[in-house]
Amino acid sequence: MELNINRIINLIKRDIGIYWQTYLKAMLAIISVQAIANNTDFGLYWFIMAFTFAFKEYNNSTKLRIQITNLPASNLEKYLYSFFIIFLLFPLIILISMYGGLLLRYFLDVIVFGLTFTQTIDLTPSIWSSMTSQILIYAPMVSIFFFGNIYFNKQGGLKMIFYIIAFSLLVFVINAIILYFITGGLSHSFIIQGSSIPEFVKYIVSFGITGFFIILAYLSLTEKEV
Protein backbone atom coordinates (compact mmCIF):
# COMPACT_ATOMS: atom_id res chain seq x y z
CA MET A 1 0.00 0.00 0.00
CA GLU A 2 1.36 3.39 -0.99
CA LEU A 3 0.95 6.14 1.58
CA ASN A 4 2.42 9.60 1.39
CA ILE A 5 1.21 12.30 3.77
CA ASN A 6 2.19 15.11 1.37
CA ARG A 7 -0.06 13.70 -1.32
CA ILE A 8 -2.96 13.47 1.14
CA ILE A 9 -2.36 17.10 2.11
CA ASN A 10 -2.25 18.02 -1.60
CA LEU A 11 -5.57 16.22 -2.15
CA ILE A 12 -7.13 18.15 0.74
CA LYS A 13 -5.71 21.44 -0.56
CA ARG A 14 -7.06 20.62 -4.01
CA ASP A 15 -10.48 19.83 -2.56
CA ILE A 16 -10.65 23.06 -0.62
CA GLY A 17 -9.29 24.97 -3.64
CA ILE A 18 -12.08 23.58 -5.81
CA TYR A 19 -14.99 23.61 -3.38
CA TRP A 20 -14.25 26.52 -1.02
CA GLN A 21 -17.13 28.55 -2.43
CA THR A 22 -19.54 25.63 -1.88
CA TYR A 23 -18.29 25.19 1.68
CA LEU A 24 -18.62 28.91 2.34
CA LYS A 25 -22.18 28.98 0.99
CA ALA A 26 -23.07 25.95 3.13
CA MET A 27 -21.62 27.67 6.21
CA LEU A 28 -23.63 30.82 5.52
CA ALA A 29 -26.79 28.75 5.03
CA ILE A 30 -26.27 26.92 8.32
CA ILE A 31 -25.47 30.15 10.17
CA SER A 32 -28.63 31.80 8.78
CA VAL A 33 -30.95 28.90 9.63
CA GLN A 34 -29.42 28.49 13.09
CA ALA A 35 -29.73 32.20 13.78
CA ILE A 36 -33.39 32.18 12.77
CA ALA A 37 -34.32 28.87 14.41
CA ASN A 38 -32.23 29.46 17.54
CA ASN A 39 -31.75 25.81 18.40
CA THR A 40 -29.61 22.89 17.38
CA ASP A 41 -32.37 20.50 16.38
CA PHE A 42 -31.29 20.89 12.78
CA GLY A 43 -27.92 19.32 13.57
CA LEU A 44 -28.85 15.88 12.33
CA TYR A 45 -30.09 17.23 9.00
CA TRP A 46 -26.90 19.21 8.41
CA PHE A 47 -24.87 16.12 9.07
CA ILE A 48 -26.99 13.97 6.77
CA MET A 49 -26.78 16.57 4.00
CA ALA A 50 -23.02 16.85 4.44
CA PHE A 51 -22.50 13.11 4.39
CA THR A 52 -24.23 12.80 1.05
CA PHE A 53 -21.22 14.72 -0.33
CA ALA A 54 -18.74 11.99 0.56
CA PHE A 55 -16.53 10.98 -2.38
CA LYS A 56 -18.22 13.75 -4.36
CA GLU A 57 -16.00 13.43 -7.42
CA TYR A 58 -16.58 9.67 -7.63
CA ASN A 59 -20.30 10.10 -7.04
CA ASN A 60 -20.67 12.40 -9.98
CA SER A 61 -20.38 12.51 -13.76
CA THR A 62 -18.10 10.04 -15.53
CA LYS A 63 -15.96 12.99 -16.56
CA LEU A 64 -15.16 13.90 -12.96
CA ARG A 65 -14.69 10.27 -11.99
CA ILE A 66 -12.04 9.94 -14.69
CA GLN A 67 -10.22 13.00 -13.37
CA ILE A 68 -10.06 11.86 -9.75
CA THR A 69 -9.25 8.26 -10.69
CA ASN A 70 -6.36 9.37 -12.87
CA LEU A 71 -4.95 11.79 -10.32
CA PRO A 72 -1.57 10.44 -9.21
CA ALA A 73 -2.33 9.35 -5.65
CA SER A 74 -2.90 5.84 -4.38
CA ASN A 75 -6.35 4.43 -3.62
CA LEU A 76 -5.48 4.54 0.08
CA GLU A 77 -4.46 8.20 -0.10
CA LYS A 78 -7.66 9.12 -1.95
CA TYR A 79 -9.64 7.18 0.60
CA LEU A 80 -7.95 8.80 3.59
CA TYR A 81 -8.43 12.25 2.08
CA SER A 82 -12.17 11.58 1.67
CA PHE A 83 -12.25 10.19 5.20
CA PHE A 84 -10.65 13.37 6.52
CA ILE A 85 -13.09 15.57 4.61
CA ILE A 86 -16.19 13.70 5.71
CA PHE A 87 -15.29 12.74 9.27
CA LEU A 88 -13.26 15.77 10.33
CA LEU A 89 -13.62 18.77 8.03
CA PHE A 90 -17.39 18.58 7.51
CA PRO A 91 -18.28 18.04 11.20
CA LEU A 92 -15.95 20.92 12.07
CA ILE A 93 -17.56 23.21 9.48
CA ILE A 94 -21.06 22.22 10.67
CA LEU A 95 -20.30 22.71 14.36
CA ILE A 96 -18.55 26.05 13.80
CA SER A 97 -21.46 27.21 11.62
CA MET A 98 -24.10 26.02 14.09
CA TYR A 99 -22.45 27.85 16.96
CA GLY A 100 -21.79 30.79 14.67
CA GLY A 101 -25.53 30.94 13.97
CA LEU A 102 -26.40 30.73 17.64
CA LEU A 103 -23.88 33.42 18.51
CA LEU A 104 -25.26 35.62 15.73
CA ARG A 105 -28.72 35.18 17.20
CA TYR A 106 -27.35 36.00 20.63
CA PHE A 107 -25.78 39.24 19.42
CA LEU A 108 -28.91 40.22 17.50
CA ASP A 109 -31.13 39.54 20.50
CA VAL A 110 -28.88 41.32 22.96
CA ILE A 111 -28.04 44.27 20.72
CA VAL A 112 -31.28 44.71 18.77
CA PHE A 113 -33.87 43.56 21.26
CA GLY A 114 -32.02 44.05 24.53
CA LEU A 115 -32.80 40.56 25.77
CA THR A 116 -30.56 38.69 28.14
CA PHE A 117 -28.45 35.77 27.13
CA THR A 118 -30.33 33.11 29.09
CA GLN A 119 -33.66 34.07 27.59
CA THR A 120 -32.59 33.42 24.05
CA ILE A 121 -29.96 30.80 23.78
CA ASP A 122 -29.46 27.28 24.96
CA LEU A 123 -25.77 26.72 25.46
CA THR A 124 -26.25 23.03 26.01
CA PRO A 125 -27.59 22.03 22.64
CA SER A 126 -28.87 18.54 22.21
CA ILE A 127 -26.04 17.61 19.90
CA TRP A 128 -23.55 17.98 22.77
CA SER A 129 -25.72 17.05 25.73
CA SER A 130 -25.92 13.39 24.79
CA MET A 131 -22.69 13.12 22.86
CA THR A 132 -22.21 9.39 23.36
CA SER A 133 -25.66 8.38 22.17
CA GLN A 134 -25.34 10.77 19.23
CA ILE A 135 -22.07 9.21 18.16
CA LEU A 136 -23.60 5.73 18.40
CA ILE A 137 -26.25 6.81 15.90
CA TYR A 138 -24.16 9.11 13.69
CA ALA A 139 -21.14 6.86 13.22
CA PRO A 140 -22.97 3.96 11.49
CA MET A 141 -25.10 6.40 9.51
CA VAL A 142 -22.06 8.30 8.24
CA SER A 143 -20.28 5.08 7.36
CA ILE A 144 -23.32 3.87 5.37
CA PHE A 145 -23.37 7.13 3.37
CA PHE A 146 -19.61 6.92 3.02
CA PHE A 147 -19.92 3.49 1.45
CA GLY A 148 -22.99 4.38 -0.64
CA ASN A 149 -21.29 7.34 -2.25
CA ILE A 150 -18.37 5.31 -3.50
CA TYR A 151 -20.45 2.25 -4.39
CA PHE A 152 -23.00 4.08 -6.53
CA ASN A 153 -21.98 6.22 -9.48
CA LYS A 154 -24.63 8.87 -8.99
CA GLN A 155 -26.90 10.14 -6.19
CA GLY A 156 -25.25 7.76 -3.73
CA GLY A 157 -26.58 9.71 -0.74
CA LEU A 158 -30.17 9.66 -1.94
CA LYS A 159 -29.94 5.99 -2.90
CA MET A 160 -28.62 5.12 0.54
CA ILE A 161 -31.48 7.05 2.19
CA PHE A 162 -33.88 5.09 -0.01
CA TYR A 163 -32.25 1.77 0.91
CA ILE A 164 -32.25 2.63 4.62
CA ILE A 165 -35.97 3.47 4.46
CA ALA A 166 -36.69 0.34 2.42
CA PHE A 167 -34.69 -1.81 4.84
CA SER A 168 -36.48 -0.29 7.86
CA LEU A 169 -39.85 -0.93 6.23
CA LEU A 170 -38.86 -4.50 5.44
CA VAL A 171 -37.85 -5.11 9.07
CA PHE A 172 -41.08 -3.53 10.24
CA VAL A 173 -43.20 -5.68 7.90
CA ILE A 174 -41.37 -8.89 8.78
CA ASN A 175 -41.71 -8.02 12.45
CA ALA A 176 -45.43 -7.41 12.02
CA ILE A 177 -45.94 -10.68 10.10
CA ILE A 178 -44.07 -12.73 12.71
CA LEU A 179 -46.02 -10.98 15.46
CA TYR A 180 -49.29 -11.68 13.72
CA PHE A 181 -48.62 -15.38 13.31
CA ILE A 182 -47.28 -15.88 16.84
CA THR A 183 -49.70 -13.82 18.88
CA GLY A 184 -52.61 -13.64 16.45
CA GLY A 185 -52.60 -9.86 16.65
CA LEU A 186 -50.40 -6.78 16.39
CA SER A 187 -50.70 -5.53 19.95
CA HIS A 188 -47.12 -6.32 21.02
CA SER A 189 -43.86 -5.33 19.51
CA PHE A 190 -41.03 -7.72 18.86
CA ILE A 191 -38.61 -4.90 18.27
CA ILE A 192 -36.18 -4.79 21.15
CA GLN A 193 -36.50 -1.53 22.98
CA GLY A 194 -33.30 0.58 22.89
CA SER A 195 -33.31 1.10 26.65
CA SER A 196 -33.27 -2.62 27.33
CA ILE A 197 -30.05 -3.22 25.38
CA PRO A 198 -26.89 -3.19 27.50
CA GLU A 199 -24.61 -0.23 26.77
CA PHE A 200 -21.66 -2.36 25.63
CA VAL A 201 -23.84 -4.16 23.06
CA LYS A 202 -24.85 -0.80 21.60
CA TYR A 203 -21.16 0.09 21.27
CA ILE A 204 -20.33 -3.24 19.64
CA VAL A 205 -23.22 -2.98 17.17
CA SER A 206 -22.58 0.67 16.38
CA PHE A 207 -18.84 0.41 15.88
CA GLY A 208 -19.22 -2.97 14.18
CA ILE A 209 -21.54 -1.50 11.54
CA THR A 210 -19.32 1.57 11.21
CA GLY A 211 -16.15 -0.48 10.76
CA PHE A 212 -17.85 -2.83 8.32
CA PHE A 213 -19.01 -0.05 5.99
CA ILE A 214 -15.76 1.89 6.28
CA ILE A 215 -13.78 -1.16 5.16
CA LEU A 216 -16.36 -1.90 2.46
CA ALA A 217 -16.00 1.70 1.20
CA TYR A 218 -12.23 1.23 0.79
CA LEU A 219 -12.70 -2.04 -1.07
CA SER A 220 -15.29 -0.39 -3.33
CA LEU A 221 -12.83 2.40 -4.09
CA THR A 222 -10.13 -0.05 -5.17
CA GLU A 223 -12.64 -1.86 -7.40
CA LYS A 224 -14.20 1.29 -8.83
CA GLU A 225 -14.35 1.38 -12.61
CA VAL A 226 -15.08 4.44 -14.68
Partner: protein, 282 residues
Protein backbone atom coordinates in the same frame (compact mmCIF):
# COMPACT_ATOMS: atom_id res chain seq x y z
CA UNK B 1 5.73 0.02 -23.52
CA UNK B 2 2.27 -1.54 -23.79
CA UNK B 3 1.71 -5.27 -23.96
CA UNK B 4 -1.74 -6.71 -24.22
CA UNK B 5 -2.42 -10.43 -24.28
CA UNK B 6 -5.75 -12.12 -24.93
CA UNK B 7 -7.68 -9.20 -23.50
CA UNK B 8 -11.41 -9.58 -23.12
CA UNK B 9 -13.84 -7.04 -21.80
CA UNK B 10 -17.60 -6.63 -21.69
CA UNK B 11 -19.87 -4.12 -19.99
CA UNK B 12 -22.70 -6.65 -19.95
CA UNK B 13 -22.55 -10.42 -19.91
CA UNK B 14 -22.53 -12.05 -23.33
CA UNK B 15 -21.83 -8.75 -25.09
CA UNK B 16 -18.11 -8.52 -25.66
CA UNK B 17 -16.73 -5.08 -26.48
CA UNK B 18 -13.14 -6.27 -26.62
CA UNK B 19 -12.68 -9.87 -27.65
CA UNK B 20 -9.29 -11.51 -27.33
CA UNK B 21 -7.05 -8.62 -28.31
CA UNK B 22 -3.29 -9.12 -28.29
CA UNK B 23 -1.22 -6.09 -29.06
CA UNK B 24 2.23 -4.61 -28.64
CA UNK B 25 2.73 -0.85 -28.74
CA UNK B 26 6.26 0.49 -29.00
CA UNK B 27 7.55 3.53 -27.17
CA UNK B 28 8.72 6.76 -28.77
CA UNK B 29 6.01 6.93 -31.42
CA UNK B 30 2.66 8.55 -32.04
CA UNK B 31 0.09 5.85 -32.62
CA UNK B 32 -3.27 6.56 -34.19
CA UNK B 33 -6.12 4.39 -32.98
CA UNK B 34 -8.78 4.49 -35.65
CA UNK B 35 -12.15 2.91 -35.94
CA UNK B 36 -15.78 3.62 -36.55
CA UNK B 37 -17.94 5.15 -33.82
CA UNK B 38 -18.85 2.82 -30.96
CA UNK B 39 -16.37 0.16 -31.98
CA UNK B 40 -14.61 0.05 -28.60
CA UNK B 41 -11.72 2.52 -29.02
CA UNK B 42 -12.48 4.42 -25.82
CA UNK B 43 -12.99 1.16 -23.93
CA UNK B 44 -9.56 -0.06 -25.03
CA UNK B 45 -7.97 3.23 -23.98
CA UNK B 46 -9.72 3.12 -20.61
CA UNK B 47 -8.42 -0.42 -20.08
CA UNK B 48 -4.89 0.82 -20.81
CA UNK B 49 -5.35 3.69 -18.35
CA UNK B 50 -6.69 1.46 -15.56
CA UNK B 51 -10.11 3.06 -15.62
CA UNK B 52 -11.74 -0.26 -16.53
CA UNK B 53 -10.72 -3.74 -15.47
CA UNK B 54 -10.47 -6.58 -18.00
CA UNK B 55 -12.66 -9.67 -17.74
CA UNK B 56 -9.66 -11.76 -18.67
CA UNK B 57 -6.23 -11.41 -20.25
CA UNK B 58 -3.25 -9.26 -19.32
CA UNK B 59 -2.34 -5.66 -19.85
CA UNK B 60 1.05 -4.27 -18.98
CA UNK B 61 1.65 -0.56 -19.42
CA UNK B 62 5.05 0.97 -18.63
CA UNK B 63 5.80 -2.14 -16.60
CA UNK B 64 2.70 -1.69 -14.44
CA UNK B 65 -0.64 -3.43 -14.26
CA UNK B 66 -3.02 -0.51 -14.90
CA UNK B 67 -5.87 -1.76 -12.70
CA UNK B 68 -3.61 -1.54 -9.63
CA UNK B 69 -3.41 2.24 -10.17
CA UNK B 70 0.03 2.58 -8.61
CA UNK B 71 1.16 6.16 -8.04
CA UNK B 72 4.20 5.72 -10.32
CA UNK B 73 1.92 4.57 -13.11
CA UNK B 74 -0.54 7.44 -12.66
CA UNK B 75 2.35 9.95 -12.62
CA UNK B 76 3.54 8.61 -15.95
CA UNK B 77 0.32 8.52 -17.92
CA UNK B 78 -2.02 11.28 -18.92
CA UNK B 79 -5.49 10.39 -20.12
CA UNK B 80 -7.49 13.02 -21.95
CA UNK B 81 -11.07 11.90 -22.30
CA UNK B 82 -13.24 13.05 -25.16
CA UNK B 83 -15.43 15.06 -22.83
CA UNK B 84 -14.41 16.46 -19.50
CA UNK B 85 -15.57 18.74 -16.73
CA UNK B 86 -13.58 21.66 -15.45
CA UNK B 87 -13.90 23.39 -12.13
CA UNK B 88 -14.81 26.97 -11.37
CA UNK B 89 -11.25 28.26 -11.09
CA UNK B 90 -8.63 30.17 -13.01
CA UNK B 91 -6.09 28.43 -15.25
CA UNK B 92 -3.41 29.54 -12.78
CA UNK B 93 -5.19 27.87 -9.86
CA UNK B 94 -5.90 24.73 -11.84
CA UNK B 95 -2.19 24.33 -12.48
CA UNK B 96 -1.27 25.17 -8.90
CA UNK B 97 -3.63 22.58 -7.43
CA UNK B 98 -3.02 19.76 -9.89
CA UNK B 99 0.62 20.05 -10.97
CA UNK B 100 1.90 19.04 -7.50
CA UNK B 101 0.84 15.47 -8.25
CA UNK B 102 3.16 15.22 -11.27
CA UNK B 103 6.85 15.25 -10.31
CA UNK B 104 8.03 16.03 -13.87
CA UNK B 105 5.55 18.86 -14.43
CA UNK B 106 7.06 21.98 -16.02
CA UNK B 107 5.16 25.21 -15.49
CA UNK B 108 7.32 26.93 -18.11
CA UNK B 109 6.40 24.31 -20.70
CA UNK B 110 2.74 24.59 -19.76
CA UNK B 111 2.63 28.34 -20.34
CA UNK B 112 4.67 27.93 -23.55
CA UNK B 113 2.12 25.45 -24.88
CA UNK B 114 -0.67 27.82 -23.89
CA UNK B 115 1.02 30.61 -25.84
CA UNK B 116 1.28 28.33 -28.85
CA UNK B 117 -2.45 27.79 -28.51
CA UNK B 118 -2.81 31.60 -28.27
CA UNK B 119 -4.19 31.50 -24.73
CA UNK B 120 -2.58 34.35 -22.87
CA UNK B 121 -4.83 35.18 -19.94
CA UNK B 122 -3.77 32.92 -17.07
CA UNK B 123 -6.48 34.33 -14.88
CA UNK B 124 -9.31 33.24 -17.18
CA UNK B 125 -11.89 31.11 -15.43
CA UNK B 126 -11.79 27.59 -16.86
CA UNK B 127 -15.55 27.12 -16.70
CA UNK B 128 -16.10 30.33 -18.67
CA UNK B 129 -13.94 29.22 -21.60
CA UNK B 130 -15.28 27.65 -24.79
CA UNK B 131 -15.09 23.85 -25.06
CA UNK B 132 -12.21 24.05 -27.53
CA UNK B 133 -10.20 26.42 -25.32
CA UNK B 134 -10.78 24.26 -22.26
CA UNK B 135 -9.51 21.31 -24.25
CA UNK B 136 -6.41 23.22 -25.27
CA UNK B 137 -5.67 24.04 -21.61
CA UNK B 138 -6.03 20.39 -20.62
CA UNK B 139 -3.88 19.23 -23.55
CA UNK B 140 -1.19 21.78 -22.58
CA UNK B 141 -1.37 20.57 -18.98
CA UNK B 142 -1.08 16.94 -20.06
CA UNK B 143 1.97 17.61 -22.22
CA UNK B 144 3.59 19.65 -19.42
CA UNK B 145 3.32 16.67 -17.05
CA UNK B 146 5.95 14.97 -19.24
CA UNK B 147 4.13 11.71 -18.73
CA UNK B 148 5.72 8.87 -20.67
CA UNK B 149 2.35 7.83 -22.05
CA UNK B 150 -0.26 10.27 -23.31
CA UNK B 151 -3.63 8.79 -24.17
CA UNK B 152 -5.73 11.26 -26.10
CA UNK B 153 -9.30 10.29 -26.89
CA UNK B 154 -10.69 12.37 -29.75
CA UNK B 155 -8.38 15.31 -28.92
CA UNK B 156 -9.32 17.34 -31.97
CA UNK B 157 -13.09 17.21 -31.39
CA UNK B 158 -14.22 20.72 -30.64
CA UNK B 159 -11.04 22.36 -31.94
CA UNK B 160 -11.35 24.87 -34.77
CA UNK B 161 -9.23 24.54 -37.93
CA UNK B 162 -6.29 26.75 -36.80
CA UNK B 163 -6.30 24.98 -33.43
CA UNK B 164 -6.03 21.59 -35.10
CA UNK B 165 -2.87 22.78 -36.85
CA UNK B 166 -1.55 24.18 -33.55
CA UNK B 167 -2.36 20.86 -31.90
CA UNK B 168 -0.31 18.92 -34.45
CA UNK B 169 2.60 21.35 -34.06
CA UNK B 170 2.57 21.14 -30.24
CA UNK B 171 2.31 17.36 -30.19
CA UNK B 172 5.32 17.05 -32.49
CA UNK B 173 7.22 19.53 -30.32
CA UNK B 174 6.46 17.55 -27.16
CA UNK B 175 7.59 14.23 -28.63
CA UNK B 176 10.83 12.57 -27.66
CA UNK B 177 12.23 9.03 -27.56
CA UNK B 178 10.72 8.34 -24.14
CA UNK B 179 7.25 9.64 -24.91
CA UNK B 180 4.49 7.62 -26.48
CA UNK B 181 1.25 9.14 -27.60
CA UNK B 182 -1.88 7.22 -28.52
CA UNK B 183 -4.46 9.29 -30.30
CA UNK B 184 -7.89 7.86 -30.84
CA UNK B 185 -10.06 9.48 -33.43
CA UNK B 186 -12.61 8.89 -36.12
CA UNK B 187 -11.60 12.15 -37.80
CA UNK B 188 -8.64 10.63 -39.58
CA UNK B 189 -7.69 13.75 -41.54
CA UNK B 190 -6.76 15.47 -38.27
CA UNK B 191 -3.88 13.06 -37.86
CA UNK B 192 -2.33 13.86 -41.21
CA UNK B 193 1.48 14.09 -40.93
CA UNK B 194 1.27 13.41 -37.22
CA UNK B 195 1.17 9.70 -36.53
CA UNK B 196 3.91 7.12 -36.97
CA UNK B 197 1.76 4.04 -36.79
CA UNK B 198 -1.82 3.03 -37.24
CA UNK B 199 -4.05 0.76 -35.22
CA UNK B 200 -7.43 0.09 -36.74
CA UNK B 201 -10.15 -1.42 -34.62
CA UNK B 202 -12.92 -3.46 -36.09
CA UNK B 203 -15.71 -5.25 -34.27
CA UNK B 204 -14.21 -6.09 -30.87
CA UNK B 205 -10.69 -6.57 -32.17
CA UNK B 206 -7.62 -4.97 -33.76
CA UNK B 207 -7.71 -5.29 -37.50
CA UNK B 208 -4.48 -3.52 -38.40
CA UNK B 209 -1.40 -2.64 -36.37
CA UNK B 210 1.31 -1.30 -38.65
CA UNK B 211 3.76 1.55 -38.90
CA UNK B 212 3.38 4.13 -41.66
CA UNK B 213 6.60 2.85 -43.21
CA UNK B 214 5.31 -0.71 -43.29
CA UNK B 215 2.07 0.44 -44.87
CA UNK B 216 3.71 2.51 -47.60
CA UNK B 217 6.23 -0.23 -48.32
CA UNK B 218 3.43 -2.69 -49.01
CA UNK B 219 0.73 -0.42 -50.36
CA UNK B 220 0.90 2.37 -52.89
CA UNK B 221 -1.31 5.44 -52.60
CA UNK B 222 -1.87 7.33 -55.81
CA UNK B 223 -4.18 9.52 -57.83
CA UNK B 224 -4.91 9.10 -61.54
CA UNK B 225 -7.55 10.41 -63.93
CA UNK B 226 -7.95 6.95 -65.44
CA UNK B 227 -7.33 3.92 -63.28
CA UNK B 228 -8.62 1.30 -65.68
CA UNK B 229 -5.09 0.27 -66.68
CA UNK B 230 -3.71 0.02 -63.17
CA UNK B 231 -3.27 -3.48 -61.78
CA UNK B 232 -3.72 -4.69 -58.22
CA UNK B 233 -6.02 -1.88 -57.12
CA UNK B 234 -7.46 -2.66 -53.74
CA UNK B 235 -9.65 0.39 -53.35
CA UNK B 236 -10.42 3.60 -55.19
CA UNK B 237 -12.65 6.61 -54.76
CA UNK B 238 -13.59 9.56 -56.94
CA UNK B 239 -12.01 12.87 -56.18
CA UNK B 240 -11.93 16.30 -57.83
CA UNK B 241 -8.34 15.77 -59.02
CA UNK B 242 -9.00 12.25 -60.28
CA UNK B 243 -9.34 8.83 -58.72
CA UNK B 244 -7.62 8.22 -55.43
CA UNK B 245 -6.50 4.62 -55.22
CA UNK B 246 -4.66 2.14 -53.07
CA UNK B 247 -2.86 -0.76 -54.69
CA UNK B 248 -0.44 -3.41 -53.67
CA UNK B 249 3.08 -1.98 -53.89
CA UNK B 250 4.80 -4.75 -55.81
CA UNK B 251 7.12 -2.32 -57.60
CA UNK B 252 8.49 -0.75 -54.38
CA UNK B 253 7.23 2.67 -55.36
CA UNK B 254 7.31 5.55 -52.93
CA UNK B 255 4.10 7.28 -51.91
CA UNK B 256 2.63 9.27 -49.06
CA UNK B 257 0.19 7.59 -46.73
CA UNK B 258 -3.32 8.93 -47.08
CA UNK B 259 -4.83 7.87 -43.77
CA UNK B 260 -8.44 8.36 -44.79
CA UNK B 261 -7.97 6.45 -48.01
CA UNK B 262 -6.16 3.68 -46.17
CA UNK B 263 -8.93 3.53 -43.55
CA UNK B 264 -11.61 3.24 -46.22
CA UNK B 265 -9.56 0.71 -48.13
CA UNK B 266 -9.18 -1.46 -45.04
CA UNK B 267 -12.91 -1.58 -44.45
CA UNK B 268 -13.55 -2.21 -48.14
CA UNK B 269 -11.05 -5.02 -48.50
CA UNK B 270 -10.28 -6.21 -44.98
CA UNK B 271 -8.84 -9.66 -45.48
CA UNK B 272 -6.74 -8.81 -48.52
CA UNK B 273 -5.09 -5.76 -46.91
CA UNK B 274 -4.60 -7.62 -43.66
CA UNK B 275 -2.86 -10.42 -45.49
CA UNK B 276 -0.67 -8.01 -47.52
CA UNK B 277 0.41 -6.18 -44.36
CA UNK B 278 1.07 -9.35 -42.42
CA UNK B 279 3.27 -10.67 -45.21
CA UNK B 280 6.82 -10.16 -43.93
CA UNK B 281 8.62 -11.08 -47.12
CA UNK B 282 8.50 -7.60 -48.46
Amino acid sequence: MIEINNLKFSYKRNKMVIDDISLNIEKGYIHGLLGKNGIGKTTLLKLMAGLLFPNSGDIEVLGYTPMQRKVGFLQDIFFLSEEFDVYKMSIENYVKLNSVFYPKFSETDFYNYLEEFEITDRKSKLNALSFGTKKKVIIAFGLATHARLMILDEPTNGLDIPSKAQFRKIILKAMNDETTIIISTHQVRDLHNLIDSILIMDERNILINASNREITSKLYFGVEKDISNIDNILYSEDNIGGNLFVKENRENLESNLDIELFFNAVFHNKEKIKSILSNNNK
